[in-house]
Each structure stands twice: as C-alpha cells, then as structure tokens.
C-alpha cells in the first residue's frame, strides 16, 4: 500500500459519498462501480492497473473538458440559429466536431505544420524519437510525425473524394428513380441489390486485381461499391416527398424532372442525406484504410495511414507503440464522425427512445 493507492481509493470513495449525499444517483452508481472494479483489477494487476485506470480517467476528463470548451466556443462564434442547435449537442458530438476540426486543420496546412516532407529520408531506419523527430523514424528513416500529418491530407482526402462521388452517383440515381419510377427505378434497384450482395472488401479486391491500384481506380471502385446505400436512402426519402401536394402542383405547372429534383425534392430531404454522408464517409474511410493496409491502396512514397501501419508493423513485436498511432488516427476520426452523426440522426428523427 503506497500513498498513490491510498489516495486513489480515498478520492473514489470520497467522490461516491459526495454523489450519494447530493442524490446524484447516476454519478454515484458510476463512481462506485468504478471503485468495485478497481478492487478487482487492483488485486489482479497491482498498482500499474490502478495507474492505468487513473490515466484513462484523466484522459477522459481532458477530452470532456476540451469538448465542453469547444462547444461553448462554437456557440459564441456562430449566429443565433445555429448556436441554439449547438446548445443541445451532447459532449460526445462536441468532441467529434473538435476532432474533425483538428484533422481538417492538419490536412489543409500539412506542409506548414509538418517539419519534414512526406518522402524525405532524414535518418536511419526505425530511429528512435529525439528532439528533431517527435515520433521517431519509419522503416526507411522518414519522419513519422510528418508522415502522419501528411496522411491526414492524403487518406482523408481520398476518402472524401470517394464518398463525394458515391454520393453524387447514388443520390442522382435515387432521385431519378423516385421521380421517374417505372423501368428505371426497377433497373437501378436490381443493380443496387447485386452490388450490395457482395461483401464490399471482396468486391473491391476483385476490381483492384483487374484494374490495378491507381488512385482514380480506387476512387471509382469504392464510390461504385458504396453508392447503392445512398441510392436506397435517397430513393426512400425522396419517395416520401414525391407524393406531397406541392410536387403535384409543380408537375401541373409543367416543371421538368430536373427542376423538381433541384428545387422541390432535394431541399426537403437534406437532413437524412447529410447524416448518411457522415456514415458513408466512415465506411469508405475504413474500406480504403483496409485496402491500404493490405498494400492495395495509395502507393508509396505517398504517406497514408493504412499503409503506414503495415510498413511499420514489425516494430510492434519489439513492444513499440508507434505503428499503432496511424491506426489510432483512423479510429479516432471514424469515432468522431460517428459521434456527430449519432447526434444529427437523433435530432433529425426527433427520436426520443422510451
């Protein structure tokens, strides 16, 4: 029993007593169950396990603090209407927005932020971190930190392009299917069925084996694979709008399909489509990361998170954390987008679970 362990339990028990005294049932339950869990892990893992829990709790508190501050910041700088919406955002969504914001900055200003170029060899292979290189060097002696910053630009940029294309394809086909109906609707529906009945990664592998792994090919293939999801959603959402009276009125006025889509249907189905864009981005991003990890995505020397994990994987057998950082970067962005989407879905559906 050293002073750390005594302080640890004193803090937890004190906090749970306070929570119980002030009738904060939820918080009390959480803290007290954490205390009980700590008993068990403390016995099994000893002091290191307790330290780990402390660090995790500290990081969580830090993240909560940052998201709270970021939300307040957004509320102040945005105009009245948006600020009102933002006030309802849970901390997780604020955290998601903060992460997305950070990634965007890193991606856009990559050449300014990164100390070295993405393909610049500056030291020996797998050199450890020093004052020059924040995270050490990779398998060819390039600066890991710079490559991660550039990766934000390359990996996310590619995923965004592919998602955008998938969206344009899917949304256009969906809107046309909903407005035109008939054989076009049927045909597109069957095509979507077929594409969706093959697992996406398998489909992508098949196509990449045939067309090779150039960037254009990857973008087109990934967009094709994920457009059926957008197609189905758009068709369903637009299908609900198409039967409205104002569409009938516009048709009677003699407006064409293109006008109907642009001026009547699209504005009335943006909310679910925006949420779908976020979700779709997550899928696309994970698929492209997976392909890069398999060595079939963005080709070297361009920095890309998925392939960086693969190239540096040998370091893991020496107990090094560095190869996990690009993988963590992928996970963090996907989580962040998911958090924001979760909130948007909740808001747009008015979903209040029982």
């Amino acid at each position: 029993m050293n002073s750390f362990v005594i302080g640890y339990y004193a803090l937890l028990i004190g906090a749970s007593c306070l929570a119980a005294y002030f009738k904060q049932r939820q918080i009390f339950l959480l803290i007290f169950s954490l205390t009980l869990v700590s008993f068990v892990t403390g016995i099994v893992g000893g002091v290191p396990a307790l330290r780990f829990i402390t660090i995790a709790a500290g990081l969580l508190a830090l993240a909560a603090g940052v998201s709270y501050a970021f939300r307040e910041f957004l509320i102040i700088i945005t105009p009245e209407g948006v600020a009102k919406e933002l006030r309802t955002a849970p901390l997780t969504a604020a955290f998601g927005m903060f992460v997305i914001f950070t990634y965007a900055i890193a991606g856009i200003f990559a050449p300014v932020i990164a100390p070295f170029g993405e393909a610049e060899v500056i030291s020996s292979a797998f050199a450890p971190a020093d004052e020059n290189m924040l995270l050490g060097a990779d398998q060819l002696g390039r600066d890991m930190f710079s490559r991660i910053i550039y990766g934000a630009r390359n990996s996310v940029g590619l995923a965004l392009t592919a998602t955008g294309l998938a969206f344009i394809l899917g949304a256009f086909a969906g809107l046309m299917a909903a407005t035109k109906g008939g054989w076009f609707d049927q045909l597109m529906g069957r095509v979507a069925d077929v594409i969706m009945s093959v697992p996406s990664l398998i489909f992508a592998l098949l196509m990449l084996s045939i067309f090779g792994t150039s960037l254009v090919v990857i973008v087109i293939i990934v967009a094709l694979i994920y457009s059926p999801r957008v197609f189905r959603l758009t068709r369903a959402v637009a299908g609900n709008v198409v039967v409205m009276d104002y569409i009938e009125a516009a048709k009677l006025r003699g407006e064409g399909n293109w006008y109907l889509i642009r001026k009547e249907i699209l504005p009335n189905s943006t909310a679910p489509l925006v949420a779908e864009f976020g979700l779709e981005f997550c899928f696309v991003f994970l698929l492209i990361a997976g392909l890069s990890f398999l060595g079939l995505g963005i080709q070297p020397p361009t920095a890309d998170w998925g392939s960086m994990v693969r190239e540096n994987a040998t370091l893991i057998s020496f107990g090094e954390l560095t190869p996990l950082i690009p993988a963590a970067a992928i996970a963090l962005l996907t989580v962040a987008v998911n958090f924001v989407v979760d909130w948007m879905l909740f808001r747009s559906s008015g979903l209040k679970e029982v």
Binding site: L205, L294, A313, A331, T334, V354
Partner: protein
C-alpha cells in the same frame, strides 16, 4: 406449413439467382482486362507467339460465354482451374485454407453471439442510464476502429508484453484441439470485439423497439413483474430480430476475416485472396470471391428465412 415452405423456397430461388448474377459478374470482370489474361500474365514485353501459346493453353480462343459455363460447371463441382502463378490446382490451394477460415469464424461466432445478445438485452434494460451511455461510446469506438488496429493492440498487450498468447497464428495438423484454440485466440478475439459491438447495438435497438409496443405497456400496467415482462412477453417476439441480427453479423464476419487473417498471418482463404490479388492470379481471385460472396448471400438468406420462420406475420404476406 405449405405456405412457409413455398415462401422459403422462393427466397432460396432468389438467393440462387443472385449468386448466378454474381458469378457472371466475377467471371466477366476479368474479361474487362485491357488485352486479356494471357497478356496480363506475361506482361508487355512478351512476344506475340508466347502470348498466343498461353492463350491456347488456357482455352482463351473459345468465346467468353462458353468459357463462363465451363468455369461455372467446374466451380459447382469444386474445380476452379489452375493457378496462373504456381500451376497448382486452385481447389487444392483453397480446401484446407477454407476449413481454417471457417474454423476461425465459427470460433469467433461461438464466443460473440451469446455475449453480445446477453449484453445487448442488459443494455436495453438499462437504457438511458449512465451505463447505457458508456456502453454506447465503447461499442461505437469498437465499430469505428479498423480491424487491424484492434488486432495489433491485442498483439502488443497480450502477445508481446505479456506473452499469454502467440502473436502469429501458425497452424499444424498435429496440434491438439486445446492448442489450436490457444493459437487462434487472438484473431478470434479481434473478430469478437468488432462483431460483438455491432450485435450489441442491434440487439439493443431491437429490444427497445419491442419494449415500446403497446402490449408490453399493457403487461406493465396490469402489474406483471419486470422480469416476467421480459421473459414472457418481450423475448418470444424478440427472436425474429435477434436471429436477423446474428445472421447479418456472421455475414459481416466474412469481410472482417480477410484483414484479421493478414494481421495474424493466419493460413486462411482471406490471406490467399489478398496474395492472389497482388500477384494478379485471377483463377484464385475468382474462386475466393465466389466463395466469399456465396457465404455472404447464404447468411443473408438465413437471416431472411429465420425472420420468416419466427415471425407469424411474415408467413402470410399480403
């Protein structure tokens, strides 16, 4: 009973047609190659004579449709032709690996299915408490992480730092079953983590949907104790969505398996596929894709049929 049988047969027929279309797609995708397979294998530097010779050897001088039916006929009987690189029979390269992959997927499923259903029900009962929110964040994080991230974290902490489990899942035929389970534990655990998160969320959603229905409220209002509401009223109706959730996630396992096999150097069909793709060994790519797609379609079909069998309302379509 006749109705159900007819309905199930109809679904099976639909699945078969889908599979046929997919096989068509897989075969003719390769036909889209600039030039043809022979040219792609030999490269730009090949002389026209060698290309012509290979073309004849592979039967490329016949029309594509004829070759498609030959290939399909072979595939049905388990003959996928020969590998372009090693010259080995594809069926031989695949058969052992396919069993390994099935073993891994089953291993993961056996652990994941009970855990996730139980956890999903618990979280649904605790909905809107702080535990539910924590579970939401944890499962969302697990879903959002690429499989290789989870895999390498497990390798780092359970294999490299503590050495509880081997980092590389090498298999040999003379291993005991216990040894086999131990060797393949980490890849299975990676799959479990991803699939459990998915299944938990879907189970939770299904149960919450159910608990909102009027007859549950009725049961509550007439004073039935909470556990009885769950066991007697909710659970019998929950089977349909739960079966659906399980089958869909097993289908998801199929894709996850490819990345996990590569991370753990597991001798499965997923790794074979990835190798074949980078070497452009088309017969193997086609065979693996067909197998994966067939499994995927089969599991989705199982989800459909399961839903029909457990939900009386679906048995009588309007």
């Amino acid at each position: 009973m006749g109705d159900i049988l007819q309905l199930v047969l109809k679904r099976l027929g639909l699945g078969l047609i889908t599979l046929l279309v997919i096989s068509f797609l897989i075969f003719f995708a390769v036909e889209l190659l600039p030039g043809d397979i022979a040219q792609a294998v030999l490269g730009q530097a090949a002389t026209p004579e060698t290309v012509a010779a290979l073309r004849e050897k592979m039967g490329l001088d016949q029309p594509a449709l004829v070759r498609y039916f030959q290939w399909l006929g072979g595939a049905v009987t388990g003959d996928f032709g020969t590998s372009l690189i090693s010259g080995e029979r594809v069926s031989e390269a695949i058969s052992d690996r396919f069993i390994n992959t099935l073993f891994l997927a089953t291993y993961a499923a056996v652990i994941a299915v009970p855990i996730s259903i139980i956890l999903g029900v618990i979280v649904a009962l605790l909905r809107n408490t702080i535990f539910d929110r924590v579970a939401n964040v944890v499962t969302l994080t697990s879903i959002s992480s690429p499989e290789f991230f989870l895999g390498y974290i497990l390798i780092l902490y359970l294999a490299v730092k503590t050495q509880y489990f081997p980092a590389i899942a090498s298999l040999s035929s003379d291993m005991s079953f216990g040894e086999l389970l131990h060797r393949t534990f980490l890849p299975a655990l990676t799959l479990v983590l991803v699939v459990t998160a998915h299944m938990m969320r879907m189970t939770r959603a299904a149960i919450i949907n159910l608990l909102a229905s009027p007859y549950i409220e009725m049961a509550r209002l007439k004073g039935v104790p909470p556990w009885k509401v769950i066991v007697k009223h909710a659970l019998p109706n929950a089977w349909a969505p739960i079966i659906n959730v399980v089958a869909l996630n097993l289908a998801y396992l199929i894709t996850g398996v490819v990345l996990v096999e590569v991370v753990f150097v597991y001798p499965g069909i997923g790794q074979l596929l990835v190798d074949a793709v980078s070497k452009r060994d088309f017969p193997i790519v086609q065979a693996c894709c067909l197998i994966f797609a067939a499994t995927f379609i089969l599991l989705n079909l199982a989800a459909d049929v399961g839903a029909i069998l457990t939900n009386p309302r679906l048995r009588h379509p309007k």
